[in-house]
């Protein structure tokens, strides 16, 4: 149960809800770019893709996540931190120091940009967990990192962990995405995968931590649309120990991917089918084996199905997955150019980065576009290379299966 915030002493949900105590609404633009060969691309490409989609946001949030950007520290967890003041920094650093061997601590490189104001103190840390604590707690490094993230976010007033993965980082804030990208000097970074987001919130957050992408460990999520099933999705996740404290659809989507991919070990294509399920009529037309699987996915994960308009890009160190809602209510265009795979809300964003793509297409509703970086570990366990035993589910039904035929009416 890794993400149960309430397990951490001093957790105050209100702390997490700086933006709004309730569900946050908003629209957006997004992009994902992945060089499957593992070749690195400047962050400028991501900025360019977002700049032409400026009108999709309203200047109240922009952000990026880049992968493969810290090769010198590829084995270190990199925390991108936001602090409201020095006191928050001191307190948070004390916690980091207690849990990690801090290799590097430095301010994030930034430059002044017109339009970017009220930036918090931005620092980054390259760290490794104290091995003896890991041993003591019999915890995986990942779960340990998550627990520290939750600890900092919940305990330290005015401190927020913007990202916490290895060889990746999130760069986000209040402003238009091209301003934010420029502010963070993204053109000085090179990554094999970039995801980015342009936000159009319907409230005025004024809080840098609330910008997207939402990240946890290596996962980063950008999302356009509104998940109308948020109410039941969040209640469903609570059953598994996740606390949806930010009130955003993006957070819900991130936890659902974590649940399905990491904990239930579903292959990514099936996880996408659970989140954007085929229509019952479509399922009924499928060959029986496939229909049985889809029926089960839908019936079992119905409360987790993301309903309503959305386009999502999930980034991670192995690549990216882009997914549209089941009846295609948000735009998403995909293109391939050599080893580069790109998705965006608008084709113009793609053509800004890849002027002459090999092919451009609009993915079908509910069918994921998957980019996979060569040589990188695919972090998703339901890999075809794994045996059946290894991809069986983590949680099994309480009742033993029986041979009775399915009863249909």
């Amino acid at each position: 149960m890794p993400y149960d915030l309430s397990r951490y002493d001093g957790f105050d949900p209100a702390r997490y809800r700086e933006e709004s105590p309730f569900k946050i609404h908003g629209g957006c633009g997004l992009m994902g770019l992945c060089d499957e060969s593992g070749a690195l691309m400047s962050g400028e490409e991501a900025i360019l893709a977002m700049a032409v989609q400026r009108d999709r946001g309203n200047g109240l949030g922009g952000g990026y996540a880049g992968y493969g950007i810290y090769p010198e520290f590829a084995d270190h967890f990199c925390f991108h931190m936001m602090y409201h003041d020095l006191k928050a920094k001191e307190e948070a650093e004390a916690i980091l120091d207690q849990h990690f061997l801090i290799e590097v601590a430095e301010p994030m490189p930034t430059r002044p940009v017109k339009g970017i104001t009220d930036a918090p103190l931005l620092w980054r840390y390259f760290m490794t967990p104290h091995q003896h604590i890991l041993d003591e707690r019999e915890q995986s490094a990942e779960d340990y990192v998550v627990s520290v993230v939750m600890l900092v976010n919940s305990r330290v007033d005015g401190a927020f962990v913007a990202s916490s993965g290895k060889n990746m980082g999130a760069f986000k804030g209040v402003g238009f995405p091209e301003e934010i990208g420029h502010y963070f000097r993204l053109e000085e970074y090179a990554g094999h995968t970039w995801v980015a987001h342009n936000r159009f919130p319907t409230n005025t957050p004024g809080w840098w931590g609330g910008a997207h992408p939402f990240t946890l460990l290596d996962w980063s999520i950008v999302h356009n649309g509104e998940i109308s099933s948020y109410g039941i999705n969040s209640r469903y996740l609570e059953q598994f120990g996740y606390t949806c404290s930010l009130g955003t659809d993006t957070e819900v989507a991130a936890y659902l991917f974590d649940l399905l991919l990491r904990r239930h070990k579903l292959p990514v294509s099936l996880a996408c089918k659970a989140l954007a399920a085929p229509l019952w009529d479509e399922i009924d037309r499928m060959p029986e084996d496939e229909a049985a699987l889809m029926r089960s996915l839908r019936a079992v994960y119905g409360p987790g199905m993301l309903n309503g308009p959305f386009a999502i890009v999930l980034g991670f160190n192995g690549g990216m997955v882009a997914l549209n809602d089941r009846i295609k209510l948000r735009p998403l265009v995909a293109a391939r150019c050599g080893s580069k795979l790109m998705v965006a809300s608008e084709e113009s964003a793609i053509r800004t980065v890849l002027p002459d793509p090999d092919e451009v297409w609009t993915p079908k509703a509910g069918e994921p576009v998957i980019g996979r970086v060569k040589g990188m570990d695919w972090p998703i366990h339901g890999d075809l290379h794994l045996g059946a035993a290894q991809i069986s589910c983590a949680v099994t039904a309480v009742e033993p299966a029986c041979d009775a035929e399915e009863v249909t009416v």
Binding site: A51, D55, F73, H182, K328
Partner: protein, 278 residues
């Protein structure tokens, strides 16, 4: 890369999507060439409107990439816009009379609530193509997205016509209330895919859809009747196909060499029985 400390660099090389400045324009008689590269849509459309007022008959827009609303609300006939590049959302929205030819793909919302005129896209077009179109012709060479021809309607003399040369996704002709939608399935990226998705003509209560080839019964909405196009129907369709083929440089006879499916609503009031007065 690693930078050991925050440095203050000059804000040089600002990256922006579009510049809010007037585009460079070159005029040659009534032919005008506009360099739209990186120009924000407002200034671009201002320039187009200025040139139209100035008597331009042919306006060539080079370097278009995603600018919205090109030709939006343009109430003029005898003027042609040529778009070189990727046309942005809501191309030809509310357009009344102008002709727009796109050499490239068009994004979502082409011909939105268009009154009259002509749009030719020599590429693919996105979702919600021809939403609420009341008149004019939209011809797309390639594939089109979801909800194409949604709520197209005819009114008095205005009869909208939308022809797609490739394949379409779900909800083709949804709520269609009038006009003609044609789907050819020829110029497509994905040969394995069905010519149209599901919910074809769902809620259709006016107009006619022609599909080159056949569709399965599960694909069509409950409100429509599906037949093979007969001679009378082909007589209605033929001039449209000939016009389309001319615009696209295709062979009309070749297009017409295969039987078409004709889809029409069974009622103009498909939901009359659904409601009961309280």
């Amino acid at each position: 890369m690693m930078t050991k400390a925050a440095t203050v660099a000059p804000p040089a090389g600002v990256i922006e999507g579009y510049r809010q400045q007037a585009p460079s324009v070159t005029r040659d008689g009534d032919v005008v060439t506009v360099d739209a590269t990186g120009i924000y849509y407002q200034q671009l459309n201002d320039a187009i409107r200025d040139e139209v007022s100035g008597g331009a008959k042919r306006i060539v827009l080079n370097g278009v990439n995603g600018q919205r609303y090109v030709g939006c609300g343009l109430r003029v006939s005898g003027v042609k816009l040529e778009v070189n590049g990727c046309a942005g959302n809501d191309l030809a929205m509310f357009t009344d009379g102008a002709e727009i030819e796109v050499f490239g793909n068009a994004q979502d919302g082409v011909g939105n609530t268009m009154s009259s005129g002509r749009v030719v896209v020599h590429g693919d077009a996105g979702d919600v193509l021809g939403y609420g179109m009341r008149g004019g012709n939209v011809y797309v060479k390639g594939d089109v997205g979801y909800r194409v021809g949604i709520h197209m309607k005819a009114y008095e003399k205005n009869i909208p016509v939308l022809v797609c040369g490739g394949k379409a996704r779900d909800f083709f002709g949804e709520y269609m209330a009038g006009g003609m939608l044609v789907l050819l399935g020829i110029n497509t990226r994905d040969a394995a895919q069905r010519i149209a998705g599901g919910f074809l003509g769902a809620g259709m209560h006016g107009g006619v859809i022609y599909i080159r080839g056949t569709v399965e019964s599960w694909q069509v909405g409950a409100e429509v009747g599906v037949t093979e196009a007969d001679e009378d129907a082909m007589a209605e369709l033929r001039p449209i196909i000939e016009d389309y083929a001319g615009a696209m440089g295709m062979d009309a006879a070749e297009i017409l060499s295969q039987p078409f499916t004709r889809i029409v609503p069974m009622s103009h009031r498909p939901y009359a029985k659904l409601y009961a007065s309280m």
